[in-house]
Symmetry: C3
Subunit: 255 residues, 3 copies
């Protein structure tokens, strides 16, 4: 029984597996070896867009009950959880992974190898670098005086980690390798390699001071977690690691 | 291919567009010019209800993967995101807008022109006025000693703004024009036009003191955001603005 | 019109009601009197698992748009909200109830009569006892130095209550009858019957000190809420209540 709609003008690559009860609309291009989960809408129609094409790169996996609007571009190996929503004009690099129930609100630019866990809400216009980690229930807002007509999106640079349930306020800039601990409320600029805590009264700290006592492993995470990335990413991870370690000197000067 | 079920007794207005793979049940009435997104259940059956009718007012838009229970009434221009859940006995005024992944738990009364962003959880029995704004991940609870048989719903008056990731505790009353900043935990009564902060040690402040330094715009939001509402709402917004500004005098007396 | 797929090798009990647009896969066993909501995937295929069987006990209710992976075992009376996700290797006792939009990430062991409200995120490998209550937006994490290869799951013992929007950090142990108030960030061990507050500066308190002033009811909740459980659970609830009350003596000694 064929239960999915595939528009005859949609471009579908080789070895693409489309689940049941799906809808693939007219302006969609799906590259080779992609898997689309059941009950998904690929290319929700946005007739007002100038550029309506939705491109999904090769070797991507979209899990069930997901909705991707027209007008976005995802490089190879996009991977989503179930029940995700990605709105228009989102451009992501290689191997974006987002967990179930994520909501990417559109007009976002996302780098390579970014990972989001569940229920991550990425406000409209967010700029996210490469190798960023965002954990469950993190919200990136964008209106500094809600409600207003002002849009003040957030900038997250390479290698940043934002732990669970943190709220990032409009216009915040999280610089390279910053580490935002769980349940934080973040405003303004967080400097390179800095750690922020929920309890603001703690002194400034650098990410190199984060250590797991039981195992002795120490941040930045590129020291002990680079093996999760493919060979092509290793040189870039190494350069990023060096940059974050270097930022410790800068922090020491400003203390 | 016709893939949606529409019960023959359901009342469907003129120019209603029903998506694919939907279910419209027997006790549903949909007014003119409504759009129902794919994979939605309109009128999830609740046989124990006395009043099982579900009414969706004209010019409404329900986005995909949504579930609306029987026994609710929505005036014109209801607009939902994707994956929303609205349970029974919910009554809303004109132009309720709720974002994706919202969960309205039933027995709620909601005024006109209320807006909720994503993942808003509105506990059972909540009372919400007109022109209210609720941002992502806000939770309105209702049990003061969880778990218990006590239900102590929340009251939110006209023009209130609740920023992202705030938790409102059972029985709280947010009076006209109150502004709850991001990540707050709110208990008890918040007076008219008051601002609450996550950090409770800050002094009392009035919403008129909230200003965006870059643009110079100042709260209450009705000063700079009324243009987002239709002509019919303007007089009501003006009266509401005057009332909130007036409340500043009261705050000054109690300081 | 038959719109659901049921694999011919799936074992379906008597009086099972399967909604529309569902998928029931090969390794699934559904016991008698179960209801499966529309648009659900029962047995999302995980070919790499050694034990792929998914068992759903009798008198269970799975609501619409839900996804249950292969390789889990749920005793009788599992009840889920809409849009839930439960991954592989989850074993739950009698009458697990989880609210809409919950995400159980796999490898979890869950006791009898556990209740979760909406948007609860249960990290991989969590161990949850009997008669536990977890409210909306609670996150159980499992990586102590994110991102890393270390998995340090959370242990929640019998009768624990975790209020809305709390984040439980990796390796935390919440002992019998502990009560975590709303918006908390919890690390380490919470002793038997202890109450934790968002504001850490408050002194230690025991759950027996939690009282609703209006009604005079007092925690532990087993005093006033045991009537919500069936006769078969009453003796176990009584023993649990006695144990939690007894823990007050221990707290007094350590003050």
């Amino acid at each position: 029984m064929q239960t999915s709609y595939i528009h005859p003008n949609a471009k579908i690559g080789n070895n693409v597996k489309i689940g049941d009860f799906c809808k693939i609309t007219e302006n969609v291009e799906i590259a080779d070896n992609v898997i689309i989960g059941d009950y998904s809408i690929i290319g929700l129609e946005m007739p007002h867009l100038k550029e309506r094409k939705l491109y999904i790169g090769e070797n991507s996996v979209i899990r069930s009950h997901s909705v991707l609007y027209e007008g976005s571009f995802f490089k190879e190996r996009l991977e989503t959880g179930h029940h995700v929503l990605i709105r228009e004009n989102t451009n992501s690099g290689i191997n974006l992974r987002i967990g179930s129930f994520c909501d990417i609100e559109g007009d976002c630019v996302i780098g390579d190898f970014v990972r989001c866990h569940s229920y991550v809400h990425i406000g409209k216009g967010s700029k996210i670098g490469h190798f960023v980690w965002i954990y469950s229930l993190v919200t990136l807002t964008n209106d500094p005086l809600p409600p207003s007509h002002i849009e003040l999106p957030i900038t997250i640079e390479d290698g940043v980690v934002i732990c669970a349930n943190s709220t990032i306020l409009p216009g915040a800039v999280l610089k390279t390798g910053a580490f935002i601990s769980a349940n934080s409320l973040i405003d303004g600029v967080v400097e390179e390699g800095n750690v922020t805590f929920n309890n603001k009264s703690l002194k400034k700290a650098h990410v190199t001071s984060l250590i797991d006592i039981n195992t002795g492993i120490r941040h930045p995470w590129m020291r002990h977690f680079a093996d999760k990335y493919p060979a092509v990413a290793q040189e870039r991870i190494k350069i990023l690691l060096d940059k974050i370690i270097e930022s410790k000197k800068q922090l020491n000067k400003t203390k």
